[in-house]
C-alpha cells in the first residue's frame, strides 16, 4: 500500500475545506474502507491524502413516520439490525444482507457504497427501486438528488469535487424484494440482481436490474407491465420481456450475456412474489 496522509476532520465544514484544498485525484474519501482499501492495496489509486469520515456525526438512522433517513457513515450492520427495517423495507433489508459478510458489513457504509459506485453494487438497485434521494453537502451547502442521477456509470458519480454524501432518504415504506444470483451464495459479487418495490402512494411498481456494467438501472418499460398491486404471471412475464428488451445486459468475466438474460425471468417472478405481488 502506498503511503498517504490520513486526515480525520471532526466537522463537516473541516472535511469540505480539506477537499477544497486538494487537487482532484490527490485525495480519496474513506468511509468504511471495504472497497477503497482494496484499491489502495493494489495500487489502483495512489492519493496523497485519505480523508476519513469516521469522526463526522453521520452514523445516524431516523424513522420519520414511514420515511427513513440513513446517515452516510452508518455501518450497514447497524442498519441491518434495525428493528423496523425488515418489516417496512424488506427489499432494502435483503440488499444490505447481500453486501459482503457480517464482518464486512460492520465497516461498510451506505454512503461508501453509493460514492464508490461499483457496477455490481447490491444497494444501488434497491435504492433506485425505492426512489431514494441523497443529501449532498458541499461548499455551497446542501443539495438533494435522486440515486438515479447520482450514480452515472461504473465508478462515476455526479458528486462535485468537494462534495460529500451526508445521508440517504427513503421516502416511504414499500413492499419490496431484492434477489441476486452469484457463484457463491455469500461473500460474493452478484452477477445478476433484480430489485422490485411497490409504491403505495404512486400505486405503481419500480423495477431495477443490476450485476452487469456499467451500472444498476431502472427499467420503466417493465414497471408499466406490472399493473396493480398483485400482477399476474402474464404481466410478470411481460415485465421480464421488457427487461430483456430494454436493459443493456452484457457479458463480462463473471457471467455470459445468455446466462444473465436467462436469470431475468426467475429472479423477477420470485422478487414480485416475495414483495407480495402474487405470481409464482
Amino acid at each position: 500500500m502506498p503511503e498517504f496522509e490520513l486526515v480525520t476532520p471532526a466537522t463537516p465544514d473541516e472535511a469540505i475545506a480539506t477537499l477544497r484544498a486538494s487537487a482532484p485525484g490527490d485525495v480519496a474519501v474513506l468511509a468504511g474502507g471495504t472497497d477503497l482499501a482494496g484499491d489502495l492495496d493494489q495500487g489502483r489509486v495512489a492519493p496523497r491524502r485519505v480523508l476519513s469520515l469516521r469522526r463526522l456525526p453521520w452514523r445516524t438512522l431516523d424513522w420519520n413516520g414511514e420515511s427513513l433517513t440513513i446517515g452516510s457513515t452508518l455501518p450497514l450492520r447497524t442498519l441491518e439490525l434495525d428493528a423496523d427495517l425488515a418489516r417496512r423495507l424488506p427489499g432494502l433489508y435483503a440488499a444490505v444482507r447481500a453486501v459482503g459478510s457480517v464482518t464486512v458489513r460492520h465497516r461498510a457504509t451506505i454512503g461508501g457504497n453509493l460514492g464508490r459506485a461499483a457496477p455490481a453494487s447490491d444497494l444501488v438497485p434497491m435504492l433506485l427501486a425505492l426512489d431514494a434521494e441523497v443529501e449532498l453537502l458541499g461548499p455551497d451547502g446542501l443539495r438533494t438528488i435522486t440515486v438515479d442521477r447520482l450514480v452515472r456509470a461504473s465508478r462515476e458519480t455526479a458528486l462535485g469535487p468537494a462534495e460529500l454524501i451526508r445521508a440517504v432518504r427513503i421516502p416511504e415504506a414499500r413492499p419490496s424484494a431484492y434477489l441476486w444470483q452469484r457463484v457463491r451464495p455469500f461473500h460474493d459479487i452478484s452477477h445478476m440482481a433484480v430489485a422490485v418495490a411497490f409504491s403505495p402512494s404512486r400505486r405503481s411498481w419500480r423495477v431495477a436490474v443490476a450485476g452487469f456494467p456499467p451500472r444498476p438501472l431502472l427499467v420503466p418499460e417493465a414497471e408499466s407491465a406490472l399493473a396493480g398491486t398483485r400482477p399476474d404471471l402474464v404481466s410478470v412475464e411481460r415485465a421480464a420481456e421488457a427487461v430483456g428488451r430494454h436493459a443493456p445486459i452484457v457479458a463480462d468475466r463473471r457471467a455470459s450475456e445468455e446466462y444473465r438474460r436467462r436469470l431475468v425471468r426467475p429472479l423477477l417472478r420470485r422478487a414480485v412474489a416475495a414483495a407480495g405481488g402474487g405470481g409464482a
Binding site: 502506498p2 503511503e3 482494496g38 493494489q42 459478510s101 444470483q181 452469484r182 457463484v183 457463491r184 451464495p185 455469500f186 461473500h187 460474493d188 459479487i189 468475466r253 463473471r254 457471467a255 455470459s256 446466462y259 436467462r262 436469470l263 425471468r265 426467475p266 429472479l267
Partner: protein
C-alpha cells in the same frame, strides 16, 4: 462427552507465539521484491537496474549477476532464476531488489526498466492444439512430455463391443489458497547460508537451493518457520534462493514475501486438462477403455513426466480394463509452472472418470453403483498396469456409501439429488525419513526436521504413534523441531506420508529404545512405558522399574537415553511391457474413499446447495481420532471449492484475471453442509500399526460426488469443473420446469 486433548500448538498459535514465515524478522533486515515480466511471452532485450541501484540502500540483481544458475529438482528450477533472453510467462521474475523498507523495495522494483519484445502467447490447450494432437504431435515443441501405454488389441476390442460411449471432459486450475503466503528470510555469514522459510520440506529446500546456487548442502541451513497452510503449494523451494542471493549481495538479512496477489500470480496452481474417454461395453461389462489426456503444464520443466504419467492412471480410476489404451500429452503454455495441490489433479481425474462411468452405466441401462462395483479393484487383483492390488478398503467403503445413499434417496424432498463419488489414491510415498528419540525420566522427546503445517500430522500424529507403541500418555511425549543442521533427514510433509513414513521412523526408533530398556532391565517380554508418581516408568512382565534406574549417569546428565530410527518405503512394480512411451508409476498403499452428497439444485438459476454429506474413508488404522476426522472434514470443505466455485481464469494474453479472493472463490463455512465421517479400518497399509495416509485421499471423491448428485436431482450432465451455476444451468434443458 469425551474430552479431546488440546493440540500442543494451540496455545502457541492463539497466543501469537508461533512465528510464521510471513511474520519472521531479523534485526537489520532489508525487504526484497521481485521484478515481474510485464507480458507472458517475448524476447527480453533489456533489464536496466541503474535507476533502482541509484536509490539509497537498494541492491538489485538480475540474470547477469547470477549467470549459469540452473538446476534443482522441483518447481521450475531447471530454468534460470531470472529470465534470460526470453520470458515465458507473465510475472516471471526478471530481477530482484532489496531495500530498507517494503515500500522502498516496491518502488525500486517499479523503477527497473524491462524491455520485452512480444512473441505470440499460447495461453491454453485450445490455443496450443486447436485440433486433437495427431500421431506426430509427440515431437512437437509444444509437447513437453508424452506417455503412451496399451494392453491387448484395443481397436479390435472396441470394434467387437456392443456399445461404445465417447465423451470429452474439461477441468480448470485450482490454487492452494494457504492463508499464509510464501515468505523467506535469508542471512549469509561467510560461507554459511541460512534461510528461515515457510515450507513443507526443509530438506527439499536445502537440496534445491544447493543446486540452484551451486553450493554444497552442508553450507546451507534451512530453518522451517511455523507454516500457515501448505496444501502442496509449499512443497518445493520458491523464494529461498532469491532471498539468499539478495542477502549475499547486500550483506544484510533479507526478507522476501509475496503479497496475496503475487501468491496467485506466481503461485503454482494445478493446471487445466482436456480428457477424452472411450468405453466399450458388452453384456453390461466394460471390455475396452481408451483415455486420452491433454494436460496444460504451463512452463513446468521437471515434474512434467510425472504429472502426465501419474495422473493418467487416475483417469482409469480404481476399475478394471481388459483391453485399454492411455495416451497423455503435457502441453507447454505461457503460464507459470504448475504445482501440487492436495492430491494433485486427482479430484479432477475422479470427477471425470466417475462422471463418465456413471454416464456409461446409464447409457447401457445399468445401475451406476452396481456398474462401478462390478469393475472395482479388490485386494489381490491386478491393476490395468499389472500391479497387484494391496489391502484396499474401497469396496467396503463403497458398499457403506451405497447403502446410505439409498436411504437418503428414499427420504429426500422433491428437487433434491443424492450422488456417490469414489476416489483412489496411492499414499505413503517411497520418500524416506529419520527420527531421533531421547527418553529422560520425565519426557520422551521426538526430535525431527518437519514443522507442523496445520494438519496435526507432525505434532499430533507422531506423538500418537509413540503413545500407541509405548503406552506412555501423550502429555509425556514432546515432538521437537530442529533445522536441517540439527535434525535427521526427512523428505517433507506432503504426499500423505508424514504419519506413514516419518511415523514409521519414530516407531522404529521407539522399538529400538524399548529393546535397550528391556536388555538393561533383564526383561524378555515386550515392555511398555507409563507415568507413575510424576516420572516415567518401564513396565515389564517382572514388574515396574523407573526409567531413572535404567539410565547411566551420563545419560541422566545428557538428557536421556537416545535411539534413532528410519524408514525408507518401497512401492510395487508395473508391467513395463505395456509402456510404449514415457514413464508410468506404480502405487504404494492403495487407499480409497467413497462419498455421498445430497444437493438441492435450483433448476432455474443452476445454483447448487449442499444439504448433507458423508465420507467413508479407507485408513488402515486410525492413529488419532480427532486429527483424522479433522483431515477428512477439511478435505471435504476444500473439495467443495474445486467442485463448485474455484477456478483460475486466464486471458488469451496469459493474464490471470482473478488473482485474489474476491473472484477466486473458496468455500466459506456457510457452504459446508453437515458432514458425517466414517473410517473403514482393517485394510492395512505400510504406516505404523497399518495406518494409511490421510491428508489427500478425502478430497478426491468430492467433485465426483457433487456432480453425481446434481445429475440425480436434475438430469444435468456437466462435463466441466467447477459446477458453477452457469454451467449447471447450461446443462439443464431450458424448457424443463
Amino acid at each position: 462427552m469425551t474430552a479431546v486433548p488440546l493440540r500442543p500448538d494451540l496455545a502457541l498459535k492463539l497466543g501469537g507465539r508461533a512465528i510464521y514465515g510471513i511474520d519472521f524478522e531479523l534485526p537489520g533486515m532489508l525487504y526484497g521484491a521481485l521484478v515481474p515480466a510485464p507480458i507472458a511471452h517475448g524476447r527480453l532485450t533489456s533489464v536496466d537496474l541503474s535507476a533502482a541501484r541509484e536509490r539509497p540502500g537498494v541492491v538489485a540483481i538480475s540474470a547477469d549477476d547470477v549467470s549459469g544458475l540452473t538446476g534443482g529438482h522441483t518447481g521450475d528450477a531447471e530454468r534460470p532464476l531470472f529470465a534470460r533472453e526470453t520470458v515465458v510467462y507473465r510475472h516471471q521474475p526478471v530481477a530482484a531488489v532489496a531495500a530498507p523498507t517494503l515500500a522502498e523495495a516496491r518502488a525500486a522494483a517499479a523503477s527497473v526498466r524491462v524491455v520485452v519484445e512480444p512473441l505470440p502467447v499460447v495461453s491454453d490447450l485450445e490455443a496450443a492444439f486447436p485440433e486433437w494432437p495427431g500421431s506426430d504431435a509427440a515431437a512437437s515443441p509444444r509437447v513437453a512430455a508424452h506417455v503412451h501405454a496399451r494392453r491387448g488389441d484395443v481397436d479390435r476390442a472396441f470394434r467387437d463391443a456392443e456399445k461404445v460411449v465417447s465423451e470429452t471432459y474439461r477441468t480448470g486450475s485450482v490454487h492452494q489458497v494457504a492463508l499464509e503466503p510464501h515468505a523467506s528470510v535469508a542471512e549469509v555469514t561467510g560461507d554459511r547460508y541460512t534461510v528461515h522459510t515457510t515450507t513443507q520440506s526443509p530438506f527439499g529446500v536445502r537440496e534445491d537451493v544447493a543446486s540452484l546456487l551451486g553450493l554444497p548442502e552442508e553450507s546451507i541451513v534451512v530453518d522451517g518457520t511455523w507454516v500457515g497452510g501448505g496444501f502442496g503449494g509449499k512443497g518445493a523451494s520458491f523464494l529461498e534462493a532469491y532471498a539468499l542471493l539478495l542477502a549475499r549481495a547486500s550483506g544484510r538479512p533479507v526478507r522476501l514475501a509475496l503479497s496475496y496477489r503475487e501468491e496467485f500470480l506466481l503461485g503454482r496452481t494445478t493446471l487445466p486438462a482436456v480428457v477424452r474417454f472411450e468405453t466399450g461395453v458388452t453384456g453390461g461389462r466394460i471390455v475396452a477403455r481408451r483415455v486420452r489426456l491433454l494436460l496444460d503444464v504451463g512452463t513446468s520443466l521437471p515434474g512434467r513426466d510425472f504429472a502426465t504419467g501419474y495422473s493418467i492412471g487416475f483417469l482409469l480410476g480404481p476399475y478394471t480394463a481388459p483391453a485399454f489404451e492411455v495416451e497423455g500429452y503435457a502441453v507447454r503454455t505461457n503460464k507459470p509452472a504448475f504445482g501440487p495441490h492436495r492430491a494433485p489433479f486427482a479430484p479432477q481425474c475422479a470427477f471425470m472418470v466417475e462422471s463418465h462411468l456413471e454416464h456409461v452405466a446409464r447409457e447401457v441401462g445399468r445401475d451406476p453403483v452396481a456398474f462401478r462395483r462390478d469393475h472395482l479393484w479388490r485386494e489381490g487383483m491386478a491393476t490395468p498396469f499389472g500391479q497387484t492390488v494391496g489391502p484396499f478398503g474401497l469396496p467396503s467403503a463403497l458398499d457403506s456409501a451405497a447403502e446410505l445413499a439409498a436411504r437418503w434417496r428414499r427420504d429426500r424432498p422433491e428437487g433434491h439429488g443424492v450422488g456417490i463419488g469414489v476416489g483412489f489414491w496411492s499414499t505413503g510415498t517411497g520418500a524416506g525419513g529419520e527420527a531421533r528419540l531421547r527418553l529422560s525420566p520425565e519426557t520422551l522427546t521426538i526430535l525431527q526436521g518437519e514443522r507442523e503445517i496445520g494438519s496435526g500430522s507432525v505434532l499430533v500424529g507422531l506423538a500418537a504413534v509413540a503413545e500407541r507403541r509405548s503406552g506412555l500418555p501423550r502429555g509425556r511425549i514432546r515432538v521437537e523441531y530442529a533445522d536441517t543442521a540439527h535434525a535427521p533427514y526427512d523428505a517433507g510433509v506432503f504426499g500423505s506420508r508424514t504419519v506413514g513414513a516419518l511415523g514409521r521412523a519414530v516407531d522404529d526408533a521407539l522399538v529400538r529404545l524399548l529393546a535397550t530398556l528391556a536388555e538393561r532391565g533383564g526383561a524378555t517380554a515386550p515392555l511398555s512405558l507409563a507415568e507413575e508418581g510424576g516420572e516415567i516408568v518401564v513396565r515389564g512382565a517382572s514388574g515396574t522399574t523407573p526409567v531413572r534406574a535404567l539410565l547411566t549417569a551420563e545419560e541422566l546428565a545428557g538428557g536421556g537415553l537416545a535411539a534413532e530410527g528410519k524408514h525408507y518405503g518401497r512401492s510395487g512394480s508395473i508391467d513395463e511391457s505395456l509402456v510404449l512411451d514415457g514413464t508410468f508409476y506404480p502405487y504404494t498403499d492403495f487407499t480409497g474413499a467413497a462419498h455421498v452428497a445430497e444437493v438441492d439444485v435450483d433448476r432455474e438459476t443452476g445454483s447448487v446447495r449442499l444439504v448433507r454429506y458423508a465420507a467413508f474413508q479407507d485408513v488402515g488404522t486410525v492413529i488419532d481420532g480427532p486429527a483424522a476426522r479433522a483431515q477428512v472434514e477439511g478435505a471435504v470443505a476444500m473439495g467443495l471449492g474445486a467442485a463448485l466455485t474455484e477456478e483460475a481464469i486466464w486471458s488469451e494474453d496469459g493474464r490471470l484475471l482473478n488473482a485474489g479472493l474476491v473472484d477466486y472463490r473458496i468455500p466459506t463455512i456457510t457452504e459446508v453442509p453437515p458432514l458425517d465421517v466414517t473410517f473403514v479400518e482393517g485394510f492395512l497399509g505400510a504406516g505404523p500399526f497399518g495406518a494409511k495416509g490421510l491428508g489427500e485421499p478425502p478430497i478426491i471423491p468430492v467433485p465426483a460426488a457433487v456432480a453425481s448428485a446434481v445429475r440425480d436431482a436434475t438430469g444435468a450432465h456437466v462435463t466441466e469443473l467447477p459446477l458453477t451455476p452457469e454451467r449447471v444451468a447450461r446443462a439443464l434443458k431450458p424448457n424443463e420446469p
